[in-house]
Structure formats: C-alpha cells, structure tokens
C-alpha cells in the first residue's frame, strides 16, 4: 500500500511564483521595458492633465510662435504652425498604441478561428486555408499594407484595416500548428469518445492549450505594429494633419529639419521609445513563458 500525500495547491503555486520572481530578477530588460510601457499608457490616459497646451494637439495654431527652439515654456519647441511639440507628442501616445491594440485584436479575431479550423479539421479545408495564408505571407507585410493603404482614403481607420489585413496570416499559421498538434493527442480522442460536442472540445480543450505561443507572439508584435503604422503615416497614407500622430509629425518636420531639428527629433524619439519598450516586454515575456521559440518576421 503506497501512501500518497494529498496535493496542496499552495505547495505547487509557491515554487512557480518563486521561479518567475527569480527569472524577473535575471531579466532586468523586461522590468525596465514594462515600466516604460506602463508609463506610456499612463501618459496616454492623463494626456489632458500632462500636456502644457492641450489645444495644440487639435486645430489650434500660433502663427507668432513658429519653429521656436526648445525652451522652458516649450520643452520640445514648436512646429511650423506654432504648435507646442511636447503637447502633441504627449497626445500622440493615444494614437499609435491604440492602432496597435485594434490591429492585433482584428488579426486575432480573423487568425484564431481560421487557424483552429485548419489545424483541428485538417483535410481540404486545411489545404485551402494554408495556401491562402502562404500567398499573403509571400508579401513582406509592409508592402501589402502599403498597397492597401494607398488604395484606401488616407485615415487612421485605413491604416488599421491595411495592417490587420497583412497581420492575421501569421496568427493563422501559428494557431494551426498548435491546434494540429493538440488535436492528435489522446485526451482529445477520449473527449470525442465521450461524445462531447465539437464546439466544447475546441473551446475548452484545444484553444486553451494552443494559445500560449500566440500570447507571446502578440506581445512581441505590439512594437512592430506601432512601427508599421508610423511608417504608413510618415508616407502620408495614414492620419491627416491636426491629428497628433508621431509618424505624421516626423513627415511634417522633414521640410524644416535643416533649420529646426527639434520638429523631427522628438516625435521620432517617441516612436523609438514606445516600440523599444513594448519589444522589451514581448522579448522578456517570451523568455518567461516560452524560452525555446525565436520568432522572425
């Protein structure tokens, strides 16, 4: 007779928390990135309180304070119509991260169901879905996004649609691989033998076991979407003038940058810092949750 001690949840949970704590300490980049990312979200939420000239993020112009260099009053200087760049950069924290949120949401809403269908059911459906994603993946994402954004009227909505349309195939491919490997496992077969409905099997057993790599990938992609969106805005295919979009601000400052370096420098720096912070978080999360994967785009 073998005496098995009862498993206490706390005894299992504590070491795991300790492991994660130790890994966090070993990964200062994740902590630093997380802090900066959180700060950016706070800035976006509190923009009206933090911006010294909230009106300058909108339609205001100050024709008598054009292209002033950075000073105590205007920390980052003023642009070609006299708007305070610091205020516009602060309000810009509401534009790019929000685009990233919607793009990743739409890409998941399209990519996950298609990937599950392809991976779980297999057969001709799998072939069809995967050949279509192959075609989409044959384009570099930015190229197709550019072509689509050039077709659509320039706006933030168009940028969101154009990038979403190029992003979902990656998630379909990722989820398909996971779903296919889960679908063949004995516990799914026993679910089928027990007569559990297909819908319930997918929702309760396949999806939860296939989703971790996707979460890692999505967190890694936030920075990439922000960069792509600001590139499209820089090319004039995205947000239009009064919108305080960082990419657009760099494009506008390009005409004056030999004499007024600050107009280009600060919005671009905001893009870099934001993308860097979210990429640090994504990279650190991957190490934490899924140390074996290296993702290429």
């Amino acid at each position: 007779m073998i005496d098995t001690p009862p498993i206490r949840p706390a005894a299992v949970a504590a070491p795991r928390r300790a492991i994660i704590g130790a890994r966090l300490r070993a990964n200062p980049l994740l902590v630093a990135g997380g802090a900066v990312a959180a700060l950016i979200v706070v800035v976006a939420v509190l923009a009206p309180l933090l911006a010294p000239f909230p009106g300058d993020a909108g339609t205001a112009t100050n024709p008598f304070a054009v292209l002033r260099p950075p000073s105590a009053q205007h920390w980052f200087g003023t642009d070609h119509v006299g708007r305070d760049i610091a205020s516009r950069v602060i309000y810009g924290a509401r534009v790019s991260p929000l685009i990233a949120f919607f793009v990743l949401l739409i890409a998941c809403l399209i990519g996950i169901p298609l990937g599950i269908m392809a991976g779980y059911f297999g057969g001709w459906l799998d072939d069809l879905i995967m050949r279509v994603t192959d075609i989409f993946l044959a384009f570099p994402a930015l190229l197709l996004a550019l072509a689509l954004a050039a077709v659509l009227p320039p706006s933030l909505t168009s940028v969101t649609i154009a990038i979403s349309a190029t992003w979902w195939p990656w998630y379909t491919r990722l989820i398909r691989g996971q779903a296919a490997s889960v679908a063949g496992r004995p516990y799914i077969e026993s679910c089928r033998a027990l007569g559990i409905s297909r819908r319930r099997i997918i929702a309760r057993h396949v999806l939860p076991n296939a989703i971790t790599p996707l979460i890692v990938q999505v967190s890694l992609d936030v920075g990439g979407v922000i960069l792509t969106a600001s590139a499209l805005s820089f090319l004039g295919l995205g947000a239009q003038d009064p919108t305080p979009d960082w990419g657009l601000m760099v494009a506008e400052g390009q005409n004056y940058f030999t004499t007024a370096w600050w107009v280009v420098t600060f919005p671009g720096l905001a893009i870099l810092v934001t993308a860097f912070a979210f990429n640090l978080v994504g990279d650190g999360l991957r190490d934490l949750l899924d140390p074996r994967r290296v993702i290429l785009r």
């Binding site: 279509v132 075609i135 570099p140 072509a147 600001s230 993308a275």
Partner: protein
C-alpha cells in the same frame, strides 16, 4: 531530392500566381482614372477614350487579368503610365540601385550581428549580454525613416563626414563618367577602374546602408544568440571543450556551424523585408531605386507600375525563400525526407 525540388517549385509557382491575383484585385480598387492620367490634363474626352482603349481598360476585368497573366509570362509587364515606358525596363533600371543598397546593408548586418550574438551567448546573463540584447532590440525598434533624417543631420550637416543624398556626386559625371555595365554603381565603378567614382559611390552608400541595416543586424544578433544557447550543452560541444579547443574556436567554429542554417533562412526573409524598407529611406536619401519609383507610381495612380513593383518584390521574396529551402535540403537530408 528531385521530388522535393519539384514540390517546392510548384508551390512557389502557386504562390506567385496568387500574388498576381491579389495585386491585380488591389490595383483595380484604386479610385481614379489611369486613362485620364495617361492622356494628360485637360485632354478631350475622345482622347481619354482612345487612351482607355489603348491601355485595354475598356475590357471586362477577367479579360484584363488573363491578358495580364499572358503578358507577365511573355515579359510584357505593361506600360508605366507616369514614365510612358515598359514597366519591366523601368524596373531593370531602378532595381539594381535598391538591390545594391540592401546587399550592402545585409553585409553590414551580418558583420555586426554574428559577432555580437556570439559574444552575448558566450557570457549569458552578464552585463555584455544585457547590452547586446538591449542593442539588438533597439535595432528592430528603430523607425528607420527617422533614423535616416537624424543620421543626415548628425553625419552630414554637423560633422560634414558623409554626403547627404544621391548615389554619387553628380559633378563626377563630367570628369570621370560612370560606364554602365551591370547597373550596380559600385560594381560598375570598380570594374572600369573608375577610382574617383568608386570612392564617391561608396561614400554615398554608407549612410543609407547603415540605416537599412538596423533591423537585420538586431534580428541576426538575437537569432545567433538564441541558436548558440540552444546547442551549447550538446555532447559534441562538450567533446570539443574536453579536447582542449579554446572557447573562441568552440563558439566561432563548432557552435556557429549549427547556427548558419536557420540564419540563412532568416537572411532570406529579411532580404525581402529590407527591400520594402528601402521605400521609407530612398526618398530621404534621394536614392534612385525601387522605393522612389514606387512612391512616384502611387502618387500618379500608375496601376501597371504599382503592380510591377509589388510583383517584382514578391517574386524576389519567393525565389529567395525557395533558394534557401533548396540549399538547406541539400545540406540536411532530414529536411528533404520529411
């Protein structure tokens, strides 16, 4: 091996066919009338109608698509509306400049990314590792259009170290004109022994190539680090250490050998990615390549030219991936027998 090659080639053809259909559909949703652009401003309606007939825009869409397929197969990619020249010969003129830029960038990226990745994997968790990881993530987080402007500001305007823009100094065309052999300015200058021109082309190449290299360098450093750390515990590595090989040889020779294969796949992917990234940089550096051509095409609603650039890059991308797959299968029997 033959069966594997046939299967991969068939898949590549299928993908290119799909790409043609997707680009065609996208281009025909573009609002505006290319025939009006072709005929010029204030053209009488009869002339616009004639232009429409000449360009084949009056036929039904499936017929246009079929004609486009036939044309691509026979080397007729249509006539670019904004240059009034065949798209394929336009691409032949602009593609070498972009390819030169991307190849130079990838050489810089490999020369910096591989050693950095190895150093990082040699001392994991140490300050040097954290620094390389932060640096490589910084590289992939770089908005390169901004980096291009900042580099111009710092290296050209303030330090006067490098030329601001262009492919070479136009003044040299009078003293030592560039002979046209391959279309690659640096190669042509070197082939013809045109040393002043070679110096000028190289100096003009440095800034844009550094900017385009930011992303691939970061990617390569991360990949090499991950690959090396993945295999560092394996027995053949322990064997090499036990035999007394210095750490430098263990990392540079035995561990790096295993990383070349995934690295080649990554370089093929990042090649296509960088080719598109030149779209953001070429206009800033006034570089006469695909990006400048694409920007002009989008600005004039030039459907055949937009289709041509998109298709060209997609085909380059598919071929690069196909080549890497074949080389990998040739090197590693496990892949072709899968």
């Amino acid at each position: 091996m033959t069966a594997y090659v046939a299967r991969r080639a068939a898949l590549a053809v299928l993908v290119v066919t799909g790409v043609i259909i997707v680009t065609f559909v996208v281009a025909h949703v573009i609002p505006g009338d290319p025939a009006a652009t072709w005929a010029g401003p204030h053209a009488p309606p009869a002339q616009v109608a004639a232009a429409r007939r000449f360009l084949g825009l009056d036929r039904p869409l499936p017929v246009q698509l079929a004609a486009y397929f036939g044309g691509i197969a026979t080397g007729d990619w249509g006539v670019a509306i904004h240059t009034h020249r065949p798209v394929l010969s336009d691409l032949g003129v602009v593609a070498p400049a972009s390819l030169e830029l991307v190849i130079a960038a990838l050489i810089i990226a490999l020369a910096s990314g591989v050693p950095l990745g190895l150093v990082s994997a040699r001392w994991p968790g140490r300050p040097v590792d954290h620094a390389v990881r932060a640096g490589s993530i910084l590289g992939v987080s770089m908005p390169i259009f901004w980096m291009a402007l900042i580099f111009q500001l710092v290296f050209s305007q303030h330090l006067h170290l490098l030329p601001v823009a262009g492919e070479y100094s136009p003044g040299l065309l009078f003293t030592s004109p560039l002979a046209h052999r391959t279309g690659f300015a640096v190669v042509d200058a070197a082939l013809t022994g045109n040393w002043p021109m070679l110096g000028s082309t190289l100096a003009h190449l440095i800034l844009p190539a550094l900017v385009v290299a930011a992303y691939p360098a970061g990617l390569i450093a991360r990949l090499v680090r991950a690959q090396v750390l993945d295999t560092v515990g394996e027995t053949h590595v322990q064997m090499a250490r036990a035999l007394g090989f210095p750490e430098r040889a263990v990392f540079g020779r035995y561990l790096m050998k295993l990383a070349w294969n995934p690295l080649a796949a990554a370089v093929a992917l990042v090649f296509g990615y960088s080719l598109v990234n030149t779209f953001l940089v070429e206009s800033i550096f006034d570089w006469p390549g695909l990006g400048s051509y694409a920007a002009a095409s989008i600005g004039t609603l030039d459907t055949p030219a937009i289709l041509g650039v998109t298709l060209f890059i997609a085909i380059v991308y598919v071929i690069a991936n196909l080549l890497v797959d074949l080389v990998q299968a040739w090197l590693d029997p496990r892949i072709r027998l899968r």
